[in-house]
């Protein structure tokens, strides 16, 4: 009887707990925000497609035309209005613009990066510099170039200075973050031994973050090359971008655009490979 009773309780226990799947996902703030972000982005995307200004374009026809264009661009490129040597020289001009911008940007950014690093300057100075830099970064590069063009005239001066603004703000952020990673003990030890601010900078801060700074600077050089192409097109800064703009907007020559695209692609891929090699050698 007793044994029987025990059996029934065991049976009841089994019945009371139906098989349930183990709950793998827990609802915490992080998952909620993740899902909300995904949902909002998806919703905005769907809304965007309904609100686009299509201007009565036949979508299928335009797609087919684009494919045809891409085909003649990449498979039948030609240079009609200038020679191979000229194109090579224009690529060099664009590289020159990118180089000058990166150099000026890096020099200025080292200084402001030191001011923006919280462990090297005061908290107050750091947040002021970071705020100004965030504002500068928020203005698109092309607008900086055009604003400077009013004072300096369209050309390489306006382009380099306008692009430098953006490079500085980008590099200040990157540099100051790598400065802030420096071990607190190193600075303290140097301070205790009586080293001045500049000595700390040159003997501890810069040597320890040099590899980071070089790879960030080279990355910015890569970006600046692409930006310089765009500025040549949009702000008359010269270089290969200007030729591309002319081929696209004035001569309507898709094949010449193809040839120019090959030039840009070759340089960009070369820079990317160099950057990867540089990164491997530094680390």
């Amino acid at each position: 009887m007793e044994a029987n009773g025990q059996v029934t309780t065991a049976g009841q226990l089994v019945k009371q707990r139906p098989r349930r799947q183990i709950r793998v996902k827990t609802w915490n703030r992080s998952t909620v925000v993740t899902r909300a972000t995904l949902l909002i982005l998806a919703g905005l995307t769907v809304y965007a497609f309904f609100s686009f200004d299509y201007k009565e374009i036949d979508f299928v026809q335009a797609m087919l035309a684009t494919f045809a264009n891409l085909k003649s661009m990449f498979l039948e490129p030609h240079l009609q209005r200038f020679t191979f040597g000229h194109a090579l020289y224009q690529v060099l001009v664009t590289l020159g613009l990118a180089f000058l911008t990166t150099l000026f940007g890096a020099v200025i950014a080292v200084f402001f990066g030191l001011l923006a690093a919280e462990n090297l300057s005061s908290k107050w100075v750091s947040s002021v510099v970071k705020g100004v830099v965030a504002f500068i970064r928020a203005v698109p590069t092309v607008l900086w170039v055009l604003i400077f063009a009013v004072a300096a005239g369209l050309g390489s001066v306006a382009a380099v200075i306008g692009m430098t603004f953006h490079s500085v703000s980008y590099l200040v952020k990157a540099y100051s973050e790598s400065f802030e990673e420096l071990d607190k003990g190193v600075i303290e030890a140097l301070k205790a031994s009586g080293a001045g601010w500049w000595q700390i900078i040159f003997q501890a801060v810069l040597p320890s973050s040099l590899t980071y700074m070089i790879s960030w600077t080279f990355l910015r050089f890569e970006i600046n090359f692409a930006v310089a192409v765009a500025m040549g097109a949009a702000a008359g800064a010269g270089g290969i971008g200007f030729d591309m703009f002319m081929a696209s907007n004035f001569y309507l020559d898709i094949r010449e655009i193809g040839a120019i695209t090959y030039f840009i692609l070759a340089v960009a891929i070369l820079l990317e490979i160099t950057a990867a090699k540089l990164k491997k050698r530094l680390t």
């Binding site: 703030r29 992080s30 925000v33 993740t34 972000t37 982005l41 905005l44 995307t45 965007a48 686009f52 200004d53 299509y54 201007k55 374009i57 979508f59 335009a62 797609m63 035309a65 684009t66 264009n69 001009v93 020159g96 613009l97 180089f99 000058l100 150099l103 965030a134 928020a138 203005v139 698109p140 590069t141 092309v142 607008l143 055009l146 604003i147 009013v150 004072a151 300096a152 050309g155 390489s156 001066v157 380099v160 200075i161 692409a226 192409v229 765009a230 097109a233 949009a234 010269g238 591309m244 696209s248 907007n249 309507l252 898709i254 695209t261 840009i264 692609l265 960009a268 891929i269 990317e272």
Partner: protein
């Protein structure tokens, strides 16, 4: 011995500085950069901006139209980024060393992404202008191609970083390819991927301004219109509106990053 070390170090830095100076000189000559003008034009520009480049009372009338164009540009940027991200996810899974089906498909998908990434969005805009004209779709596809290329590279790095260990472990237990992808790879790299997508949206709004200038659509066109007609007060208003929008989006994405990472 020690003196030798410092002498060598000094020689190396001297050689580096000389090389840098040489390249700088070449760059200055090639680009016809006027160094003196470069220095004098900064104070000139600041003086001009303080004198002319600020919104006035009259320019505020144009604000509703500007906001309309801004919203259009924002939507184009977001739509291009999310669709680009979906395509990039597929290519990243095929291209990553930990999750690729085989080496052949891996290198093909990474090669496609490399080509798309290295043609700048401005170049894409000029290519697409031929068939799509001055519609939103030109900007949309240009941003889509650019985002797709960039996000594929970032996603490949994220997948390699976040899930190489767990993929190996799951493979050892005999889990199938798709369950590995959906239960391990995507969940573990999701936060980092969202962070990249948010970064891409910020970048795309700035690029959209440039594309608008080139193709005559969106907020970039609005700026160009007032800038070319010397209505600098309205142009300044456009710049401020863009800055406000980008700073808002940066704040939102910084909040999301803080919570999910």
């Amino acid at each position: 011995m020690q003196a030798d070390f410092f002498a060598k170090k000094r020689r190396n830095s001297l050689a580096f500085l000389l090389a840098l100076a040489g390249v700088t000189l070449i760059a200055i000559v090639v680009t016809e950069y006027d160094v003196a003008k470069g220095f004098t034009s900064v104070p000139d520009a600041v003086a001009w901006a303080l004198g002319n480049f600020y919104p006035t009372q009259e320019s505020l009338v144009k604000l509703p139209g500007i906001i309309d164009k801004l919203v259009e540009t924002l939507l184009v940027s977001i739509a291009a980024t999310t669709v680009g991200a979906a395509a990039a996810l597929l290519f990243a899974i095929l291209g990553s060393n930990t999750t690729r089906v085989n080496a052949f498909f891996g290198s093909i998908s990474r090669g496609i992404a490399t080509v798309f990434r290295n043609i700048d969005v401005a170049a894409w805009a000029m290519i697409l202008l031929f068939s799509f004209g001055q519609s939103s779709l030109t900007g949309y596809f240009a941003l889509f191609f650019g985002s797709f290329g960039f996000l594929t590279r970032s996603f490949v790095e994220t997948i390699d970083e976040a899930s190489s260990g767990s993929v190996e472990a799951l493979r050892a237990t005999g889990a199938g390819y798709f369950s590995i992808i959906f239960h391990s790879v995507i969940p573990s790299s999701m936060p980092q991927m969202i962070s990249w997508v948010l970064f891409m949206i910020e970048t795309n709004i700035r690029s959209a301004t440039l594309i608008g200038l080139l193709t005559g659509s969106g907020i970039g066109f609005t700026f160009n219109l007032y800038y070319k007609s010397l209505n600098y007060d309205v142009a300044a208003l456009v710049v401020l509106v863009i800055v406000a929008a980008i700073l808002c989006i940066e704040a939102v994405s910084n909040y999301v990053r803080r919570v999910i990472l």
